[in-house]
Each structure stands twice: as C-alpha cells, then as structure tokens.
Symmetry: C2
Subunit: 188 residues, 2 copies
DNA sequence: ACCTGAACACCGTTCAAGT
DNA sequence: ACCTGAACACCGTTCAAGT
C-alpha cells in the first residue's frame, strides 16, 4: 500500500513540488494541462515527472486526492447537521459545484465512478463511493429516497448534472435547477 | 446563407471527399480524430481541409448535419404515431442512444445546446431545438410534462444522461434507466 | 480560385548519460 | 537510486509557391 523505503530527500522534494504545480496547472488549464509545462514549472526534467506519475490520470489523482477526501469528510459533517434527505441533497449540490469550479476534478471524479470491472478501484473512487453510500443508506431508512437507487447511480447522475450545467452558464443556480428537476422528476 | 457562386469542380470533389472521410474518422476515433489524417485519407493537402473547414467544429458539424436532421424528422414521425408524452420520451431515448453510439456526435450536440450568447446559433442547434420545442409543447398541452421545463433544459439534461450512461456500460439499458430516474424523480 | 506540402510550434514519451 | 534533457514521433496550423 504505502512506501516501504522512504524516498530520497531530493526525490521527495521533487514529488511534492510536482504535486503543487500540477494542482495549479490542472485548475488553470483543465485536465489537458501540458505535462511538459508542469515539469518545467516544478523545475524538474520531464523524465522525473513520468517516474513519479506514469500516467496523466495518476498525477491528476495525486494532485486532487485531498480535495476528494474533503468531500468525503463533508458528507459526515452534513449527516450530523441535517436530516438524511437534506444532507444528501446538500452534499450532491456541493459536490457538483466543486466539480465545476475546480477544473480537472470532473474527469477525476468521472473515472472514480466509472464502470471499473477491469481497473482497480482508485483511492478517490473509494472515498466518494463510501461517502455516497452512507448518505444514501440514511436517506433510504428515513424513507425520502427511492429504495431502488444505488449510490453509484446517484454519483453518475450528479456527474451528468454537472455536464448539463456546464452547457448552461455553469453557475450554482443551473446546478440547483437541474438537481431539483432530477429530484422532483419531469412529470406534471 | 448559401453559396452564391458554385464551387469549382475540383473544389466540390475535395469538399465531398473530406466530408465522407471525416464522418468515418470521427465515428472511429471520436471528436479528437487527427485532422491531418483526414486530409491524407481524403487525398488532399492539409491546407485544403482548413480552407473548407476553418475549425474542427465546422468540419464536425458539416459531417453530421444529416444525422441531426434525421433526429429532427424522427421527432415529427413519433409525434404522429404516439401520444405526446410517449413521443417525447421515445425521442429522447433515441437521441441519447444515437449520441452515445456515434462517436463525435456528443460534442456536436453539446455545443448545439450550449449557452450561445456570443456565438451564432448553429444549423444543428436550430434543428434539434426546434424538434424538442414541438414535442415539449405537445406534451405540456397534454398535461404529462411539467409546465416549467424548457426544451433547452431537456436537451441539456439528456446530454447529462448520456454522460452518466457512459460512466456505466454506455448501453441502451443504462440510458433507459437514467432517463427513467430523471422522469420519475428520486423521491420515495 | 484553389491546391499542395514544407515549415513551424507544441506536446507526450522514452532513454542514454550523468550524479 | 534518481535526475536530466536530448531525441523521436505526432499533431495542428500557416503560408509561399504552384496550377
């Protein structure tokens, strides 16, 4: 799971600088940010970047894992403050807003809830799925959420809501609107 | 609107070959298909591609405008065959399935329903928005659709459903499931 | 009027050489 | 053990030269 041998001092320094610069670059340019640029701005050779993070996905995940953990913690906060149904609704709203505001996070959360029959479940996937499951179970027990809706379905639909909101202005009001339509349904 | 002067014979031939090859390439590799490759496969210089289609978006739209018109015609067929509510539901289903099956179409339809305060409305946008409006008005009049839902909102949500279904297996069953959740709502 | 394709800029990825 | 940066492959875009 974790490093057996500690990193050499220079390696550790490079690793951390890369993470910091990568988070900024992804936030600024989205998930397609230039890797070469990230390496340059971190003051390391491009090979060093690839040594630490073999794929773009690996770097993206490492750069944003803190934020995703933040969402998971926030779920438990909300569960203590609000009735289950409201806690779930508010959490989904905050998750969508965060996803749309921090560029690069959308792809990461998308792959975290993608059908991963082949790939191993990512760290981010574990966090976000766990949080959703806790909120969903409470809301189901309370009787405010359809019993047949799975946590993963809710996360995928939330990802879809973000996509829909992006086609509008991408602001919080669009997200509220589309989440509300999803919750209430489209029937007259 | 249309060409005033007809194209020179060789220009017209190149134009048509580019469209044909582009449709194949986008279907195969998605919207990111190599433009250089398209030019080569069509047997023209890369400059010729840019002359006819200044942006990737322009080529994408030209290559798929037929299909989008097909969706618009299909809306009117369904409106004749089924009650308004069912016609709308079936059309959205077919639209989503088509969007997911033909790679490259998703981006095109996305930008067709994007908030276009700055850009001019595209041809595809006009078609698809018109079709949705006709179906929505009928369903509203029938009383099976919430009166406050705009056609453009429905199209954006459908785009979101496609995104959600892609995170699952991307098959027709996922689309049916997510469209159903959207229609019925999430409440117990 | 239209086409060609070389030229340029940019990016991802690998790997030989270095410490 | 780790780093560097040149080298290679690939792609988008422009534009001078050609018909």
């Amino acid at each position: 799971m974790t490093q057996v041998r500690p990193m050499r001092a220079d390696a550790r320094r490079n690793y951390e600088r890369l993470l910091k610069v990568a988070a900024e670059a992804f936030a600024e340019h989205g998930e397609g940010a230039s890797l070469d640029d990230i390496a340059k701005r971190a003051g390391v050779g491009s090979g060093t970047l690839y040594r630490h993070f073999p794929t773009r996905q690996a770097l993206l995940e490492a750069a944003y894992v803190d934020r995703v953990e933040g969402f998971a913690r926030r779920a438990d906060e909300l569960a203590e403050e609000l009735p289950p149904g409201e806690a779930l609704a508010e959490w989904l709203y905050e998750l969508c807003v965060g996803t749309i505001q921090v560029r690069g996070l959308k792809t990461l959360l998308g792959s975290a809830v993608a059908d991963a029959s082949d790939a191993v479940l990512t760290v981010c996937g574990t966090h976000v799925r766990g949080a959703a499951t806790r909120l969903v179970e409470a809301a189901r027990a309370e009787g405010t959420l359809r019993a047949d809706v799975e946590p993963i379905e809710l996360l995928r639909l939330a990802h879809g809501v973000v996509g829909a909101a992006e086609l509008a202005d991408g602001g919080g009001e669009s997200i509220r609107r589309y989440l509300s339509l999803l919750t209430e349904g489209l029937r007259a």
